[in-house]
């Protein structure tokens, strides 16, 4: 069956970037435009979700709003992601970890501050352990306000980010709009000890032994256990402690 080329429409965005030569299967295009189209429409999102905004992020990625339509996909590792969505309150203890994950992401990368807490700290701003906005240590490209923002707002933020990526690749943004830098002295460098290396191993052992619900230095025999919760299935000859 012959195809009538004159009746064929090209409504995919990709076809707006290229120019077909009629009659032959050759298309001409600008590589830069293709790269722009590709980089704006294949955003892999690293969800840095610490609190309730994370739930809205999940709703946005689920089938109702479906962020996947925009070419994005949530990904659990920072090393393969392009966008970090910080969804939730960031505390003083969490901030170095967020910074570390941000540093692990390869360039080019963008950051979306989702919700009031990530933007400014919101009403937790003056609490001793909360940092007043993530832009004190990460350059934020798009702010999505709300407490929490609904999924459509996050989708709108993502569309604005795509717009920003396109504009920056086309050279329409100034340097500060391109990547808002934050003062370097606001970056808190050191991460403290991550493991309980100084803890007494004997204490660990005691707690592990007592984790069966018996308490420290405590012995319950089988009849007492049966008294507490009468279960006929409890083996008569079995070791009461190990089977629990």
């Amino acid at each position: 069956m012959a195809v009538d080329e004159s009746q064929r429409t090209y409504d995919h965005p990709l076809y707006q970037q290229i120019e077909r030569i009629p009659g032959v299967s050759v298309a001409l295009g600008n590589i830069d435009q293709l790269l722009t189209w590709g980089s704006a429409n294949s955003l892999w999102i690293f969800p840095m979700a610490t609190s309730c905004c994370g739930i809205e992020f999940m709703a946005a990625s689920a089938s109702g709003v479906d962020l996947d339509r925009m070419g994005s996909i949530p990904r659990g590792t920072p090393r393969q992601c392009d966008v970090m969505v910080v969804a939730g309150t960031i505390t003083v203890k969490m901030a170095p970890r967020v910074k570390k994950l941000w540093d692990q992401m390869p360039e080019p990368k963008w950051c979306v501050a989702m919700g009031s807490c990530a933007i400014s700290g919101d009403f937790y701003r003056d609490i001793y352990s909360v940092i007043p906005g993530i832009d004190t240590f990460i350059p934020v490209d798009v702010y999505v306000p709300g407490c929490p923002p609904n999924p459509e707002a996050l989708m709108h933020g993502l569309l604005r980010l795509q717009e920003k990526i396109r504009m920056s690749r086309e050279g329409k943004l100034t340097q500060e709009e391109l990547r808002p830098e934050s003062p370097p002295n606001l970056i808190r460098p050191a991460i403290g000890r991550l493991q309980d290396v100084e803890r007494d191993p004997l204490t660990n052992q005691e707690q592990t032994d007592s984790a069966g619900g018996l308490g420290l230095g405590d012995t319950l025999n089988l009849s007492q256990i049966r008294q507490l919760r009468p279960e006929p299935e409890l083996a008569e000859d079995g070791d009461g402690e190990s089977t629990r």
Partner: protein, 165 residues
């Protein structure tokens, strides 16, 4: 045994064996700090209170005699409220308070209840009350290099936390 009877049993125990004269209405009974561990031990071993429910410490500033009318002036102190719960019906919660000076420590309940470990660490971290005999009294929630105890009354809201404020 109903919950009411269990409470009466607990009050009788406090009166007879720990010399608590006053049982306040609507608040936890205040017992001497020396009896803290012993009360928990008796409750656990004799009355089967096996669940360590909570420990909440609070910091109280010294009260000033502002009007010079001879009102009672209290020194700054900690109040530590502890609650243990018995297993099975009626699941009664036995709770009491202990008042200690700022420079003193309260005996830990860790030898009786393993669950006291992190709860006491949390109270030490946030309020600053020290638990004597705790095997591992380090900060739990705040960063290891944090200075001060943020839930104390004398911790100013604008305390500097470099580099954030």
């Amino acid at each position: 045994m109903t919950g009411h009877e269990a409470q009466e049993q607990f009050v009788a125990l406090l009166r007879e064996r720990f010399g608590v004269a006053e049982i306040p209405d609507g608040n936890y009974p205040l017992i001497d700090a020396r009896h803290h561990f012993e009360l928990a031990r008796v409750l656990k071993e004799e009355f089967d209170y096996r669940i360590y429910s909570f420990v909440v410490a609070s910091h109280h500033l010294a009260t000033a005699d502002a009007n010079n009318d001879g009102a009672d002036v209290e020194a700054a102190h900690y109040e530590v409220a502890t609650g243990v719960r018995c297993v099975g019906a009626p699941a009664h919660l036995a709770s009491w308070r202990v008042r200690i000076e700022l420079d003193r420590a309260i005996p830990t309940l860790f030898p009786l209840f393993a669950g006291a470990d992190w709860q006491e660490r949390e109270q030490y971290d946030l309020v600053g009350v020290r638990f004597d005999g705790h095997p591992d009294l380090r900060r739990l929630m705040m960063p290891e290099d944090w200075e001060g105890h943020p839930l104390r009354k004398d911790y100013a809201i604008d305390t500097a936390c470099s580099p954030w404020r």
